[in-house]
């Protein structure tokens, strides 16, 4: 491709940096909002039980997606002990960009899928420096951030760890 000014097309391809930097304020709503507030203020973990299929909804939400039945509101929720067993986990070592900050997070962490004793799964970080101790079915328990550090976010739960024998 030639330009009319007589220059031959060079191989330098230009572009432009495009930073998407947008702040948001997300309404958690009466169900998830209450769940987050209970976690922040009282350190409690809750789930709602569908009155038709009886499965636990974590997080509690207004409707059971399968039954299309309105789920019970707080305080008609089931309190969870925060204990359960490890179903599966993976150690994430590859650095990843955090889309909320644009920063590359280098620290490896363990992502665990836990079956809580009440019969519902939950995903969170697992804190265990010795990976060989992680086994399917291992008992784990929730550890919260100290109250003054909790903000009403899912990360008010610091991590899950193996229950000490």
């Amino acid at each position: 491709m030639r330009t009319a000014l007589g220059k031959k097309e060079s191989q330098e391809y230009l572009g432009i940096s495009n930073l998407v930097n947008l702040p948001f304020n997300w309404s958690a709503g009466p169900y998830l909002g209450r769940w987050l507030i209970e976690l922040r203020d009282n350190g409690k973990l809750w789930a709602s039980r569908c009155s038709k299929c009886q499965r636990l909804l974590l997080p509690p939400r207004v409707i059971c997606g399968i039954c299309h039945v309105r789920a019970p509101e707080w305080p008609n929720w089931v309190e969870l002990s925060g204990k359960g067993e490890l179903i599966e986990w993976e150690k994430v070592v590859a650095p990843q960009m955090n889309p909320s900050t644009g920063k590359i997070e280098q620290e490896p962490y363990i992502h665990g899928n836990i079956l809580l004793d009440e019969g519902v799964t939950f995903q969170h970080h697992l804190e265990e420096p010795d990976e060989t101790k992680l086994k399917e079915g291992a008992r784990v328990e929730m550890v919260l951030k100290p109250k003054h550090e909790r903000k009403g976010l899912v990360t008010d739960i610091l991590y899950f760890r193996l229950v000490k024998e």
Partner: protein
């Protein structure tokens, strides 16, 4: 009837912060190289519609021809319309401090308008039809703000 205890709405602040890099493509790169290296503004001519489009684009919307011959247009032109921005927001990606004016400028030789800032003039003195010329940065980088603004001739 007992009043139902309601909870204050819980709002979670968050942010999307993701850097991207979008390519101009071969034709777009040539346009920006002419700006950066030669301080020239270029457009592309559609052979069927006989119109010169600035900034250049590689497909004509009307006849769907592929366009790839750059032609130089003047860095002087006429203001077709304009507006003045008085508000700001955060985080701001605005190209200038408020209040600032920008307009659609038809450069001599072009059949389309170029959207750009209008500078060195008080906002209430801008008129439609006024003649303006491009003011380039000393050090150009290969983006549209290599033209600082258009000022009255």
């Amino acid at each position: 009837m007992a009043k139902k205890k309601t909870m204050a709405p819980h709002v979670v602040p968050g942010r999307l912060y993701v850097p991207y890099f979008n390519y101009y493509g071969a034709l777009g790169s040539e346009f920006y190289k002419q700006l950066r290296d030669n301080k020239k503004i270029t457009g592309v001519k559609c052979p069927t519609c006989k119109k010169v489009l600035v900034p250049p684009r590689s497909v004509c919307a009307v006849c769907f021809n592929n366009l790839n011959e750059l032609v130089e247009v003047s860095s002087r032109g006429t203001v077709q319309t304009y507006t003045v921005i008085y508000y700001t927001y955060s985080p701001s990606n605005q190209p200038a401090d408020i209040p600032y004016a920008y307009g659609i400028i038809q450069l001599d030789g072009a059949d389309s308008g170029l959207c750009h800032l209008l500078g060195e003039i008080a906002p209430d003195k801008i008129t439609i039809g006024m003649r303006v010329e491009a003011v380039f940065k000393d050090k150009c980088e290969g983006n549209i703000l290599d033209i600082k603004y258009f000022r009255p001739v």
